[in-house]
Subunit: 380 residues, 2 copies
C-alpha cells in the first residue's frame, strides 16, 4: 500500500449536541462569529436557536444568509468581504451542503484573498483559514467532515471542486434532532447522496483500509435505515442516517469520489439541479461501468447492500445494483435522467465538462466523454 | 444515544511515510524540535534517521532519551525543563508507548507547569500544548492516536492515567517498515495490547457506533494477521497489524477501556511488568467477567474473533474467548499471572489500587476489589 492520509475534524455527535456550540467556539478563541445559513433554516427556527446559544456565552454574531442551493462564486466573495469588514474571528456553517460549502469558500477568500476560482482543484489553499465549526442539518452532504468545497462558477456554468486539508473544520457538531424538520424527499435525496459517497469512495483509486471501513459501515446503515427514516421519520433511523452520512464523509473526504460525482457537478453547474436528485439516476449505471475493473470490491459492496455475509461472484455484484434500483423505485424518487433535464441537447457538453473534474481523476476506471455519454444514455 | 465525541489526529500511514516528517513539522511552524526516544531505537538506527530527515529541512533537534519502559514522573519533569531551557517549539515522540507517553507528559508540563501528578484523571489539562508529532515503532500502544498518557508515579508505585483531548497529537506518522527491526515477542505483546484495546473499548460504557466500527475492524485484522506476522514477519501482515493498532487506538481513545487495563496499570506500577505481557493473561478472564452484562456485544466480538458471519448465543461468546486462549498458547506467550509476578502476596493491594483507575470507570460491569481478586485468582 502506498502512503495514505486520513484526516477528519473533531466530531461531537448526538441529540442536543448543539448545546456545546458556544463552548467549542470559546475554546477556539472566538469573540465575533460569522454565521452562514439560509432562509429555510431561519423558517425552521434553527438560525435563531444558534444565535441564542452563542449569545448565552456572550458571543457576538454576524449573520449571512445569501446562499443559494448550489452556492455561487459571487455569494462567496460578498460573504468574505463582510467577514473582513466585520472583523469576525470564527465561521459557523449551519445547513446542508450549500451553506457549509459557502462558509468554506468565505473562509478561504477572507484569509487567502483573490477569487474562489483561483483555488479550483487540489491543494491550492496556502494560508491557514479562520477556525470553523459546521453544523449539518441534512444527513448526506458530508461537507461538515470533508476536505471538499463545491462552488458554482456562474460565468463558466460549472461547479468547481476545491479540495484541501485546510477545508476540514475544527469541529463538526452533528445533532440528528435537526433532521426532524426536514421533508421525506430531502431525507431520501441526502441519504442517497451519502450512499453515492460511500460507494464511489470505496472503489476510488485512493481508497485505503481506513476509508473502506467507513464506506462499508455507511452503506450498511443506509440500507437498514433509509426506508424507515423516509416512511415514518423514526428518530432512531434518522440518527443512524446521520451516523452513516458522517462515516461516508470520512471515507470520501480522504479517498475521493468518482465519475458519478463528476457528472453531478457538471449537471448541477449547467442546470442548477438539486445535487441529491442526480445520484439515484446515475449511481447504478456508474456501478455497472466500474464493475469490470474492481469486481471483488463490487461484490463486497453488493454483499453489504444485500445484507448477506458472503460474497459469491459477479452475479452477486449485479444483484446488489438491482437491489439499489428497486429501492430507489420503491422510494418513489426520479430514476431517469430525462425527468430532471429539459432535453438531451446539452448532454455532450455536460460529459465533456465532467472529464477534467477532480472527482473523475480518482474513478477506478478511466472514462472519456464518450464513455460518460454511454452512461447518460443508459440513465436517460 | 447520548452525546458522544470522536477525535483523532491527522494520520499519515504507509511504508516510507517517515519521509513526510520534516514537511509536517514545518507546516506546524517548527524550528527547534524536541525529539523523545530511547536507546533501543538509537541502536536500531531510527533516531539517527529521524535527525537526518529533520536536518534536510534545516530543523534543529534537541534529543532526549532518558525514558524507561513505563516512563517515570521524574523523567517527564527533567524532559520538560530541558524543553523550556532549549526553547524548543515542537515535540516528536518516536517509539512504543513509553517514549510517546513521555513526550506527552513533557509537552504537558512544559506548557502547563506543575508536576505530572497534578494532571492525573480526565480533563485536567487547561492550557494548549506545543504541537506534537508521534511516530510509533510498535503496532500496539495506540498512544500516537490517543487521548491517554500513562506515567509511573514512583513514590506511590502506580501508573497514573492522564486523559485529555489535548494529548491527541497534531499528526501521527505510522510507517510499518519501522516494525521490521522488532522481535517476534514484542510484535505479539504489542498486538495483544491492541486486541485488548479493541475488546475493552468495544464493550466500554462510552462506546459509540464510531468507536465500535474501529474496534471490530481492529479485532478482525489482528485475528487474521497476528500469527503470520509473528511467525514469518511478513511485511504485509505487519502492515495490517499497524492498521489494526491505529484503529484500536481510534476506538479506545474515544470510548475508554476497562478493568483489564486498570489491573495492568496497577500491576505495572508495582512490579514494572512490561504492559504487553499482562493482556494475554488477563483478557480472557476479563471477558468472562463482563459477558454477563453485555452478552450481545460479546457474541459480536466472538463472531469477529472466529471469523464467522453470524452470531448464535452465549455458547459462541465462550467459543470466542476459548479461541483467544488457544491463540495465546500457540504463540507461546505467558498466560498465567504467577509467571509474571514473584508471588501473590500483593494481589489484594494491587486490586484495591485498580478500582479507582480511570479505566475501571468505563468497564461495562462494576467491579469491587474482591471481584478483581476473583479475576486475578482465575488468571493465577
Amino acid at each position: 500500500m502506498s502512503v495514505t492520509k486520513f484526516a477528519i475534524p473533531e466530531v461531537i455527535f448526538g441529540n442536543s449536541s448543539l448545546r456545546y456550540l458556544g463552548q467549542c467556539a470559546l475554546r477556539l478563541g472566538a469573540r465575533r462569529i460569522f454565521l452562514v445559513s439560509d432562509p429555510g433554516l431561519e423558517d425552521a427556527g434553527w438560525v435563531q436557536r444558534v444565535i441564542n446559544i452563542l449569545s448565552e456565552d456572550k458571543l457576538e454574531c454576524i449573520y449571512f444568509n445569501e446562499v443559494d442551493s448550489n452556492p455561487r462564486d459571487w455569494q462567496v466573495h460578498k460573504g468574505a468581504q463582510l467577514y473582513n469588514e466585520e472583523h469576525a474571528d470564527l465561521i459557523i456553517g449551519l445547513g446542508g451542503g450549500s451553506p457549509i460549502d459557502a462558509a468554506k469558500g468565505i473562509a478561504t477568500i477572507a484569509s487567502n484573498g483573490g477569487r474562489i476560482r483561483d483555488y479550483e482543484g487540489a491543494n491550492r489553499i496556502m494560508r491557514p483559514l479562520p477556525p470553523m465549526i459546521f453544523i449539518p442539518t441534512t444527513a448526506g452532504s458530508g461537507s461538515d467532515i470533508s476536505q471538499f468545497c463545491i462552488i458554482t462558477d456562474v460565468e463558466r456554468q460549472l461547479k468547481m471542486s476545491i479540495i484541501s486539508r485546510s477545508l476540514v473544520p475544527n469541529v463538526s457538531i452533528i445533532d440528528p434532532s435537526l433532521l426532524l424538520t426536514k421533508t421525506s424527499e430531502l431525507i431520501i435525496a441526502s441519504a442517497v447522496d451519502a450512499l453515492a459517497h460511500a460507494v464511489e469512495s470505496y472503489v476510488s483509486k485512493l481508497a485505503s483500509p481506513f476509508t473502506e471501513t467507513q464506506a462499508l459501515f455507511a452503506t450498511s446503515l443506509i440500507m437498514e435505515n433509509l426506508e424507515p427514516a423516509a416512511r415514518t421519520r423514526d428518530p432512531m433511523a434518522l440518527e443512524k442516517l446521520s451516523i452513516a452520512s458522517t462515516a461516508a464523509g470520512m471515507s470520501f473526504s480522504n479517498a475521493g469520489l468518482g465519475i458519478g460525482h463528476a457528472l453531478a457537478h457538471s449537471l448541477g453547474g449547467r442546470f442548477d439541479v438539486l445535487h441529491g436528485l442526480v445520484h439515484p439516476v446515475l449511481l447504478p449505471h456508474v456501478m455497472r461501468y466500474n464493475m469490470k475493473v474492481c469486481p471483488a470490491k463490487m461484490e463486497r459492496i453488493a454483499s453489504t447492500v444485500l445484507g448477506s455475509c458472503t460474497t459469491s461472484g459477479a452475479s452477486q455484484a449485479l444483484a446488489g445494483i438491482e437491489r439499489l434500483e428497486s429501492l430507489f423505485e420503491s422510494l418513489g424518487v426520479t430514476t431517469k435522467l430525462r425527468e430532471i433535464l429539459p432535453d438531451d441537447s446539452q448532454l455532450e457538453e455536460i460529459c465533456k465538462m465532467a472529464v477534467p473534474d477532480e472527482c473523475a481523476l480518482t474513478n477506478p476506471r478511466e472514462a472519456t466523454w464518450v464513455d460518460l455519454m454511454g452512461i447518460c444514455k443508459e440513465a436517460w
